[in-house]
Amino acid sequence: MSVQYLLRRIGFYTLIAAVLFFFAVPMLWLASAPFDAKPGLGLRWPEWTLDNVGKTLEHPYALTSLLNSLLLCGIATIVTTVCAALAAYALSRVRIPGRDLLLYLLLLLSSVVTGTAAMVPIFVMMFQLGLINSQYGTALVIAGGMLPAAIFILKDFMDSVPRSYEESARVFGASPGQVLRHVVLPVARPGIATILVWAFVNAWGNFLLPFLLLREVETQPAAVLLRTLQDEGGSANLTVIPVFSLLYSIPVVLLYLIVSKRYGFRFHGGIKS
């Protein structure tokens, strides 16, 4: 029994160690290469320096692309959250005939029509509208793709908010606008926060749509610039890439830390695709 127990413990720790190794080792590059005097595609103990940071900031497009990311992502996130919150609230509180079918179709749509399956018509449409290289246009396309899932998650959330709060407010003579501002919004805040973070992380990492629709380097977000840096003159620009990767990762890592501290990463229906 005790030998068997011991073997089991050894087996368990070996397995976990192997998994930890598999997940941790690739990340070490992100921690070492940015601060290495001779960064490469590989892992090594760095000759510590901060020179790469300066060179990255001097790169003509590095900072611009991070700002582009903020713009693209900010618009897509705000549009998604506001539209989804309004729609989810209305769908949750007003029973319109055919509502369930609509929600069902939304869910189906969000998983079937993906960026990849619809990339050709999206490209052609934006091309004919003259919206290639338009950051606002691209942000709206990204928002459109995220909306069905966002509505679905938020509607679930709104359904779980007791309706009696609004009833009471109405009994005391609050107008619909007041009910929305002073009752619904505060109660729905955790759900809206979830969608906000979910949408931001999704949009921040989105590569395909900006890659497809933003062909000029001045308009490209960080995701696409990183690809451009890789192709630069046939060989990767390794002075800039590691630091840039780190800078580009910081916002999502920060959000991740905040979310796991405040809510824990359990399932509330939030799904990153």
């Binding site: 976990i16 998994v19 930890l20 080792v25 690739p26 990340m27 070490l28 590059w29 992100l30 490469g40 595609l41 590989g42 892992l43 539209c83 989804a84 309004l86 729609a87 609230y89 209305a90 769908l91 509180r93 007003v94 029973r95 005939p97 749509l109 998983s111 079937v112 029509v113 960026g115 990849t116 399956a117 619809a118 990339m119 050709v120 018509p121 999206i122 490209f123 052609v124 449409m125 709206l140 928002a143 793709g145 909306l147 779980s160 007791p162 309706r163 609004e166 009833e167 109405r170 009910v179 619904v184 990492g205 590569f207 995701a223 990183l226 890789q230 890439i241 991740y256 796991s260 990153k272």
Partner: protein, 312 residues
């Protein structure tokens, strides 16, 4: 209705009672006009950027539409011509086969098993170990895919790559020699978190008493999983497998690691569509392939929805 039971008498009066169902019922005093106005912006964006492109794919897919040249200005409807072309296109068949292998290897087997294994192993582990492992797996999930591609370039690089360093196989170009295995590992690394989270919450619902009993009768870990745990989480296994397969089949990120190469050896369908459309200029043909992908998605999503309905 999933609304919690509401005991406030004032609320009872206006909450939709069975007799009112099917008609318009307005709980919050929002007004139907305002409700429509609330739903409209979202619906407009969805119609413009999802529904319309999906329908347009139907049309472009039956034309010989091209990015440049004469067929760009005046595309001709050629019916099922593109689909016939696909039948005889060895590159397409190669891509279809690679997609099947990629989905099987990285999602159905890789993420599924690793995700379940982690959820199962960590269930009784010490909190710090559990937190550490979960954090790493989640971080891999949250990092931008373009960055993750570089992390894997560093692992698989020919000169000084971590894998070569560890194995002492300096000079082996893993990405060139094993492109499919490379993108499968890359995708397992990126995507396991979802399965782990899903199975963690599924395992929490397995009655502890049954696990205790299994332990008492001396069932091995494997027997416990097969005879006690699996019957409880069968629905979750199916849901998870369908969802991650759907996402993986539509995943464009392998492009970041190998761009489909070398010599089309890792060109899954999304990458194939991109290259046909934007590198080859064959918009009609690419749309026809997109259409096939859409139909496949529809089938999988339909199965998933049926499953959801049956469970609720």
């Amino acid at each position: 209705m999933s609304t919690p039971v509401d005991l406030t008498p004032a609320a009872e009066s206006t909450v939709d009672t069975p007799s009112r169902r099917g008609r318009i019922a307005d709980v919050a005093g929002l007004g139907v006009g305002r409700a429509v106005a609330f739903v409209l912006p979202a619906l407009a964006l969805i119609a413009l950027f999802l529904v319309f492109p999906a329908l347009w794919t139907l049309y472009i897919g039956i034309t010989d539409y091209q990015l440049t040249g004469p067929a760009a200005a005046n595309p001709q409807v050629i019916g099922i011509g593109n689909f016939l072309t696909a039948l005889g296109d060895t590159l397409f068949r190669n891509s279809l086969w690679l997609t099947v292998l990629f989905v099987l290897g990285s999602a159905v087997i890789g993420q599924n098993l690793l995700g379940f294994g982690l959820a199962w192993l960590l269930r009784g582990a010490r909190p710090w170990l559990r937190r550490l492992t979960e954090s790493l797996v989640l971080l891999a999930w949250i990092l931008p895919s373009t960055v993750v591609a570089f992390l894997w370039f560093a692992v698989l690089d020919r000169d000084g790559g971590t894998l070569n360093l560890l194995l002492g196989t300096e000079g082996t170009a893993w990405l060139v020699r094993y492109p499919l295995i490379s993108i499968i590992l890359f995708n397992i690394w990126r995507g396991t978190a979802f399965s782990m989270l899903l199975y963690s919450s599924a395992l929490a619902a397995v009655p502890p008493s049954q696990l205790e009993t299994a332990k008492l009768v001396g069932a091995s870990g494997w027997q416990t999983v097969r005879d006690v745990v699996f019957p409880h989480i069968r629905g979750h296994v199916l849901t998870n497998t369908l969802l991650i397969s759907l996402w993986t089949a539509n995943d464009f990120t392998p492009f970041l690691l190998t761009a489909g190469g070398p010599n089309h050896a890792s060109e899954t369908l999304p990458v194939f569509i991109y290259r046909q459309a934007l590198e080859g200029g064959q918009l009609g043909y690419a749309s026809a392939i997109s259409l096939l992908l859409l139909v496949a998605n529809l089938v999988v999503a339909g199965l998933y929805l049926r499953l959801l309905r049956r469970r609720s």
